[in-house]
Amino acid sequence: MAMPQGHRRFSWIRLRNRVWGVISNPFNMIVLISLVMLFCLVIIPLISILRTTFTLARADVRRAGGTAGDFTLYYWQYLLASNMSTSVLWRPLTQSLTIAFFTCIIAVPFGSLLAWLMIRSDLPGKKALNYLILIPYMIPSWCKAIAWLSVFRNSRGGAPGFLEGLGLTVPDWLAYGPTAIISVMVLHYYAFAYIMVSSTLRSVNSELEEMGEIQGASKLQIIRSITLPLVLPAVLSATIMTLSKALGGYGVSANLGARINYYTLAMRQHDFVDGNSKNLGYAMSILMVIMASGTLYANSLMTGKRKSYATIGGKGSRSISLSLGRAKTPLMIILMVFLVVALVVPLFILLMESFQITTGGGYAPSNLTLYNWIGELKDAPEGIQHVGIFKDSNFYSSFLNTIKLTIVASIMTAFFGQMFGYISSRGRGKWYGMLTEQLVFIPYLIPAVAFSAIYLAMFSVSHGPIPSLYGTFTLLVIVSMVKHFPFASRTGTANMMQISVELEEAAEVAGASFWRRIMSIVMPLSKNGFMSGFMLIFISIAKELDLLALLMTPKYRTLSFLAFSYSTSAQAQMSDACSICMIVFVMLTYWFSNKVLGADLTKTWG
């Protein structure tokens, strides 16, 4: 077949028109800017960190021999094949994998089941349940770790927790280590599976299931052979996401593991980067990226090309409810009890602990105080050198930082997310669309701690016109932004796919310029999706600890970090108080955006 534009003689006019055609179209310029931006923020950091792991650092000159800046295999050798390998790499790796594995096999089926019950069954009390189910997502995972401690802490961790206070002995294996870490992670990450599977289920036309019913399939058969295969891609995505998060999670394991010297990969890596062996930490980050890519590759092998099904038909978006029959009430009660035990009780204990003088000392008036909230030094109990958080200027500056960072970073992230989403949805099947989609996805593969390590390495020195950003607010914003690009662009793509290209073409034919089309057609129509996407990112950044822990400097401490540092210095009540402020802040924001601006988290995944 003759190829388009086969043998055509060179012509200046043609060249001029072609160049002009590319330049004068703002869409091309946006694509160009996005690609350059993604290259600088995603590819360059990755390359630079890889290079660092082969370059000898000054601090290691004496141990490794040679001169600073030399090419070296020292770091990789130390990690992979030295007498230290077992304790710095293999054991933490095994422990990380154990945690990630158990978290996945419990959290994903549980979240998916919840999603099915909520979307497809006639479970009573759905409205209240939906809110309760989403609360865990809004509470930072480290807050849950702290809540766990406030219940199970034993004498090893300083002041006793709730159960010890009742006179029970809490063994270490329950209070700290893998059991505790997995439990807390499951309680947190089931929300991923819930959000992703429920938005897929919502889009599956229930006529597909009704057809199965007409053919005489039983409820179980329908679920097994129609519903499950249709949501499988979403379930697998949720698995990968949970796996990646659990592998890279630092906050939960650090709170619950460090006390009994239970180290995960993320903890080791964090300590390396925070300490004197930065390059070792970077090498470890690369290993974590490779592991995450491996899980992703496995995912694509399993789902093959059928990443998602076109499940949306023009008609019949009405969703039927499969009757649960007599199981209805017991199921709801079980769910309610679960949610109360898993959420309400720990939150209550967390709240109460912030009023206690001695943690675990019961709720008698003699053990209750407002000191942790509003106390001043002159009233301080023995051994306490902190003022109550509301009297502490650190608290206000941290809170302010959190609000500032969250608002600035999430607005920018959501904006870029919509832009990338626009490019990928309008460039479906074209090279720039696919490239954008792939580049934007890379930060997803990099565990949070590794990600901040990379940025720390990149920006702690100046590069040409870019000054050293270490310890600046800008760096916090950039890191939060780039790390959330995958989410943001995913919600952006889902949002943009809903705006038919023909709506834009109709405006184009009417003579509207690109910017006019964006302003008058795309923006007004993507408003709700933008809000939901914004909320998803907002919550995620507000509670972020793993990502920012390495980058914290006194000036720009966030509330999450303040709570974390109280917790590690055995100031449980202070930590509780900060956590509560955090939770209230996130929930108020969600409530506001949900009621006033129409954001809905379960609809962001598209």
Partner: protein, 375 residues
């Protein structure tokens, strides 16, 4: 009020060649329908004309002004081509009222506010939907949305109006009403209209000319009656007409300008209306094509009538369709009114040989056409 010339247009999607060397001229004031089965390239042609697709080869002129020149990579922007488009999906902006949907394009053209007001109302009144001006698209029925989409396209008084299967989402009755309405609109405004459809009834009833597409190629351009009477190829003959045309296999030869065809429905010789250039030499396979309404049926034998039997009869009130077994061939005949035949009943069929089209089986080309006489 525009003349459109497409010259040697090629359009590829990747290596998929969707428009193959399309050359088409649409005269000023034409109601040109692009007709063909789905996937034949008719919508792509429309989008090329609108400026939503850039062809890899070819030139397009509107009123002599160059709009596309692939050689110099020049593509005029859609908004500057003086045309408007009605989408199959209507593509009404859901966040704007009917009024604002229509006013949008006028605002872009920096038209005075009072003029916009009067132009929008004018378009709304023309489409008889003035009372819906403050509604949102989702508060309207399909037929009303369709009217808004057309009103939006005609408000700026474009010299060229493009319509992409605009009636396909309407129910049968509304479709007939809208056909009449569009025909009137064309008449009143005098605008050149290019209309895409796969529905041949729409094409035959509305157009001044039809361009028939097949697999990315333009097969034939002709006025509706001409296209119906003399389809240029066997494929075109098969596509146009409902119930479909009868094909009868035959053996043919041409000696001294006399084309002779032997078949199960008899032997025929033609000296007039034949295209000698297309006729192969020697004996060759031919196909006789005869429209169902050209077949006359009688229960008594007649001179020149052929004995046949009734295979099945389908009376449908205003007309009766009759499947006839004639030798080894099965023919379809259409008679006006209700007729009653029983299965296997013996009948006699006759027709005017001048109403037969003859095609070459090998090339599929028309060898002998039917002279068009207006009764």
């Amino acid at each position: 009020m525009s003349k459109i010339e497409l010259k040697h247009i090629d359009k590829y999607y990747g290596s998929n060649h969707v428009l193959k060397d399309v050359t088409l001229t649409i005269e000023d004031g034409d109601f040109m329908t692009l007709l063909g089965p789905s996937g034949c390239g008719k919508t792509t042609t429309l989008r090329v004309i609108a400026g939503l697709e850039k062809p890899q080869n070819g030139v397009m002129l509107i009123d002599g002004k160059e709009m596309i020149n692939a050689e110099t990579a020049f593509y005029e922007m859609p908004g500057k081509r003086g045309l408007n488009l009605v989408f199959q999906s209507y593509a009404l902006w859901p966040h704007m009222t009917v009024f604002n949907n229509i006013a949008f394009g006028l605002k872009i053209k920096h038209i005075q506010k009072q003029d916009i007001q009067s132009m929008v109302m004018d378009a709304l009144e023309k489409m008889r939907i003035a009372e819906f001006r403050d509604r949102y698209p989702n508060e309207l029925s399909g037929g009303q949305q369709q009217r808004v989409a057309i009103a939006r396209a005609i408000a700026s008084r474009p010299s060229l109006l493009l319509l992409d299967e605009p009636l396909s989402n309407l129910d049968a009755r509304l479709r007939i009403d809208m056909r009449a309405e569009l025909k009137r609109l064309h008449n009143e405004m005098g605008t050149t209209i290019i209309y895409v459809t796969h529905d041949q009834v729409e094409a035959l009833t509305m157009s001044t000319r039809i361009a028939l597409f097949s697999a990315g190629t333009l097969v034939q351009t002709a006025p509706p009656l001409e296209l119906y009477t003399n389809p240029a190829t066997l494929m075109a003959a098969e596509f146009i007409g409902n119930p479909r045309i009868n094909f009868v296999a035959g053996k043919a030869s041409c000696v001294n300008g006399r084309l002779t065809v032997q078949s199960d429905i008899g032997e025929y010789s033609f000296t007039e209306d034949i295209d000698l250039q297309e006729i192969p030499g020697g004996d060759f396979e031919a196909v006789l094509a005869l429209r169902p309404e050209q077949i006359d049926i009688d229960v008594e034998p007649h001179d020149g009538y052929i004995e046949s039997s009734v295979f099945a009869s389908q009376p449908a009130g205003s007309e009766t369709l009759l499947s006839i077994q004639c030798g080894k061939e099965q023919l379809l005949a259409k008679q006006i009114g209700i007729r009653d035949y029983s299965i296997n009943q013996k009948i006699y069929i006759g027709f005017d040989p001048r109403k037969i089209n003859v095609y070459s089986k090998e090339s599929g080309k028309l060898l002998k056409h039917v002279r068009i006489t207006h009764q």
